[in-house]
Symmetry: D3
Subunit: 251 residues, 6 copies
Amino acid sequence: MAKASKSLKLAGKPAPARGKPTLRAIKGGKAVPAKASAKPPASKPAAAKPAAKPSPFKPAPAVADDAPVIALNLPAAKLSPAMSAYFKKCQDRLGFVPNVLIAYAFDMAKLETFVAMYNDLMLGESGLSKLEREMIAVAVSSQNRCYYCLTAHGAAVRQYSGNPLLGEQIVMNYRVARINRRQRAMLDFAVKLTVQPWSVEEVDRERLRRAGFSDRDIWDISAVVGFFNMSNRVASATDMRPNTVYHGKTR
Amino acid sequence: MAKASKSLKLAGKPAPARGKPTLRAIKGGKAVPAKASAKPPASKPAAAKPAAKPSPFKPAPAVADDAPVIALNLPAAKLSPAMSAYFKKCQDRLGFVPNVLIAYAFDMAKLETFVAMYNDLMLGESGLSKLEREMIAVAVSSQNRCYYCLTAHGAAVRQYSGNPLLGEQIVMNYRVARINRRQRAMLDFAVKLTVQPWSVEEVDRERLRRAGFSDRDIWDISAVVGFFNMSNRVASATDMRPNTVYHGKTR
Amino acid sequence: MAKASKSLKLAGKPAPARGKPTLRAIKGGKAVPAKASAKPPASKPAAAKPAAKPSPFKPAPAVADDAPVIALNLPAAKLSPAMSAYFKKCQDRLGFVPNVLIAYAFDMAKLETFVAMYNDLMLGESGLSKLEREMIAVAVSSQNRCYYCLTAHGAAVRQYSGNPLLGEQIVMNYRVARINRRQRAMLDFAVKLTVQPWSVEEVDRERLRRAGFSDRDIWDISAVVGFFNMSNRVASATDMRPNTVYHGKTR
Amino acid sequence: MAKASKSLKLAGKPAPARGKPTLRAIKGGKAVPAKASAKPPASKPAAAKPAAKPSPFKPAPAVADDAPVIALNLPAAKLSPAMSAYFKKCQDRLGFVPNVLIAYAFDMAKLETFVAMYNDLMLGESGLSKLEREMIAVAVSSQNRCYYCLTAHGAAVRQYSGNPLLGEQIVMNYRVARINRRQRAMLDFAVKLTVQPWSVEEVDRERLRRAGFSDRDIWDISAVVGFFNMSNRVASATDMRPNTVYHGKTR
Amino acid sequence: MAKASKSLKLAGKPAPARGKPTLRAIKGGKAVPAKASAKPPASKPAAAKPAAKPSPFKPAPAVADDAPVIALNLPAAKLSPAMSAYFKKCQDRLGFVPNVLIAYAFDMAKLETFVAMYNDLMLGESGLSKLEREMIAVAVSSQNRCYYCLTAHGAAVRQYSGNPLLGEQIVMNYRVARINRRQRAMLDFAVKLTVQPWSVEEVDRERLRRAGFSDRDIWDISAVVGFFNMSNRVASATDMRPNTVYHGKTR
Amino acid sequence: MAKASKSLKLAGKPAPARGKPTLRAIKGGKAVPAKASAKPPASKPAAAKPAAKPSPFKPAPAVADDAPVIALNLPAAKLSPAMSAYFKKCQDRLGFVPNVLIAYAFDMAKLETFVAMYNDLMLGESGLSKLEREMIAVAVSSQNRCYYCLTAHGAAVRQYSGNPLLGEQIVMNYRVARINRRQRAMLDFAVKLTVQPWSVEEVDRERLRRAGFSDRDIWDISAVVGFFNMSNRVASATDMRPNTVYHGKTR
């Protein structure tokens, strides 16, 4: 069970994937410098004058969370040409490769099916806007308390909507968001399907239809709900860490 | 929003997909002959002599649940050559096309990504046996009370194990199954990840490692758990109905 | 705390109760041949060619789960004349004595009151058909995930209704069963009374009355719900095992 | 659906059962004098000087809750000789007939099996003291929030123990009771079996054995837990009202 | 971490607070005479003839639960003049100082803010009667199963209403209380806000307005609900014990 | 029930409180311009090119959520001299008056007791650092999904720690935060006390002591947990809205 020695660290800019770097430098139970160097909040911060002048606080540091992407030791595979091109496109357009892709990159078949399904669902043609699909992603991830997905898709909601509050609200409690009736019905369905899937019945589909959704839209809502119920669990099971760059987007 | 008039009914043997038949003849709220003809248990069955001789019961009829596959009206798309071949292969080997494939067949991109992910996860190479992956599928689906998946994958557990009881036990309460320590650890993890994904931590991964699973195995367990948390919700959201043929398999 | 040495094994046909055979050969923690011989699914079954031709699977073996009836070491008492006659009647009509009776047979007073209450509730006069009472038994047992009762009464629903699907559906998620409005109201009440008994109020009784139930029917529904909430707990507390013969009935 | 006109009112002393008096004068939805006369707390009681001298409060009135015993209209049956003698014995020894017996008295078969099971479980021979069985009854009923059983069996715990606090504590939260290790293990098991029966396994039985319970004791604990999970539901389903005399016992 | 040696024991009449008595003689894990002397119910009480004559039970002893007020070792501070006067007033009017005040008396700032908030909320001007505020206190504490608050405020409901049953009913299950529509709406809101605060929305406030509550009343209901959700947790976290005198009040 | 016409709108800088301005311009059910003008995310935002170049998104607007502070119509009272000074101090040091203070400002007694308790708990002397108290505030508020408190105290955690990630992590799922053993024990206790207060026992206090907390620290942790269980409910019950300025702090 020898571990490869290079860890793909992807905050900001990923190192090019080559050889067999591991996605994880830690193994269960062993303390690891990467973690140790993660900022533990000092028990008694120097800057502890509360309720003080407008800026009693230290400026936020350019955080570099150099923890591994996931808590499993899975050596990265060689990227297929398609995936290599896709990662390059991410780097060019977003400025980084999302960590979820790094996580799946130990196996090209798994990475490619994940990317294909993600892109079809979240970016393909649909009666739902891309923002709406991201809103579902966040509402579902909030129920499952998934750190990775709340961070990455919370940023997407802020970006697509241009409304920093909206992203925060759906992360915290979607019921407080000032959204229209259609979107509220959509999120109510998404949360019910997440929390009590066994109790969804015709009356729930009818409620969506009355809110203006077609049967195809209902499929799409359900498929996005399903997808994030999958992704949330893969992320939680592996302690997947989001790229730190997401945190500061569109605040 | 005119509906095509032919419903793909797939108990036993599906009609060949042609033209634009709909997957659903019902629309929310309207009563429909298909449903009406579904066997409602008579309130007072004629054969009501209980605790009678060994066979006081009517022989089980050859049930033909001609309900539509899902409760959404999604006209079937033309099968792509790859999918057409795949459906034919299902028909030849299993004797039927699983209804979940019919359900996705309104859109070839969705059908193909679903099939690719399913086949990679459930039939691809892994440290988990195919039976073990099916056991996870059923344990997860039991938590989510998913009729479709419990029926189809319960049959698979019975078939792969050659043990009719094992399938029933995991459907009902996996804790009563006489399985080995490794498999019990695997199902405990699967159920925790399904029910409280936010609470899965390093200690849970360590438990799997101590039970003999590699980090790659942990990924595979997590991915199967995730996949069925997705499929359970798509099936529940759409009232997906399993092929009736599953019920009688390996009893 | 010496244990008697004969275990009543009742799959198929019980040995006649004589002397002081114990109902259980195991004691907590000690491994026991009976269990060891229970079929643990092989990690990698030989017959692992999935999605193969119509019958890639081994024929289901005639399973003989020779585990003890319950996980408590309770020496069987001498059957009273009434109970002896009753066991004989079970053997003659059903072909076996239900394991729950074997479990109670360590004490004639307990066995007789259990049998009296069971027979009055499930077979006595009532506005509910015997099938309906069995449907309640299964819906309740599904909430409590009781292996014994789901197996025995799931078989009864299949037998009384002559509809193998109906039994499976109520085991898995009663909401998917194609039942009439009256029966749906009955099962909704049964499940609410099982899961949140404190929240049942006049409005719930009114809903049953509007669905056509008399006040006496409401008592009977409640009493059957109560009875299985009792039996489920006795069965779970003692790890009661159903006769294997139930699994294959009316499939 | 004509209603008989006499209601058995049993606070203090029951009227002799004769003819076909009903157990309930109300029918769903109709307001009824009996209820109207039940003391609704005045919104602004005259005696509203709080934190006043030692007795700023009105003396507790001799409350006569003349509400019907249950919220179902079930005409009382003629008591069988055995039950007639039993009711007389209750009246002589306790000073009243417990309302649960009045509730079941619409049908002699049901009344007699209930009484037989109750007496065997709660008063018959057992390794558990009568107090311990009552403690289980109350701990279970607290989880199910059953007004009838908490009142009647809370009084029994106070009486058997001679400790008014103990009864209150188990009604409110059994974890605060100053009980010994054996009794704590017993109540922990009872509550787990009530709330999550599916999760009870060998490890739980072992915990009881280590606390000193025999396998027969474990059966008895389980049977009492089961019995009150039944009774709680019958009482909640029918809005069964305890005799008011219980409230003041052993305070 | 030396402990002061005197424990404030306050059943009945508190010793005057002087020097630095501790509120607790126990420290985690160590057995302590005070606890040991608490009445453990004898396993098999002598007076075990159940269903016997009207008084088969020992008279309730004058229980003196001399356990410490809380399970934390916090030396009592010197009472400020205001608090000294307040404690004297409690002693004069109620006959005792409520243990919650003793518990907070290790720090005058905390005691004074607690008393100020309590008195404003529970005794200050409001559209809610004092009884209604106590009803909310008990309904909330029942959800949180708080022994201290159920005991102290259950007594208050009995006293303010002059109805011993009402206090018991709200402790056990507020849904069985015979209260008017306004009070039922109030308690439904209180319980929802306690159990699922995130799900309270405009529709819930509207329900209160329709039941006759003003916006200021809604604030007051919410503030009392909030206050007891705080107090319940402080009491549970510290194992706070109510004065035994409460148990016998207004029975 | 005439409503005063001026609403205190406090994003950024509150209007000086004078006369009797209302805290709320809406009344249940009536649509209101303030809300209508809140940014509903457009269904199909113009800037919908996802996965595009680094900045495909509109710049975040300077959001001015001019919704009322709470959803109750409570005319503001005249600030007492103490509170007037306190509001001025907030304005000077923070640049704004926190909306929770505006919400309480309809009644000086309530405002003053709230401020006194808050300042004692969160800013007074304690073995817990101010950051640790804020971490508890956020972990509790996450369980209760309280938008107001997560926003205001999430910002405080970011500010005190100088670590933007830490605030986000505790909002989303405190288990992913890289904190030390002491702080993890503290948050585990806080969350258990929030979710299942009835189950907190000596073993839980011992766990805190072993992690280095004194009995006084345990009180402080419990009191902060209690306080936010109160505040979360007052905020949720009244739909309290945080100052928008919090969202952008220390990102």
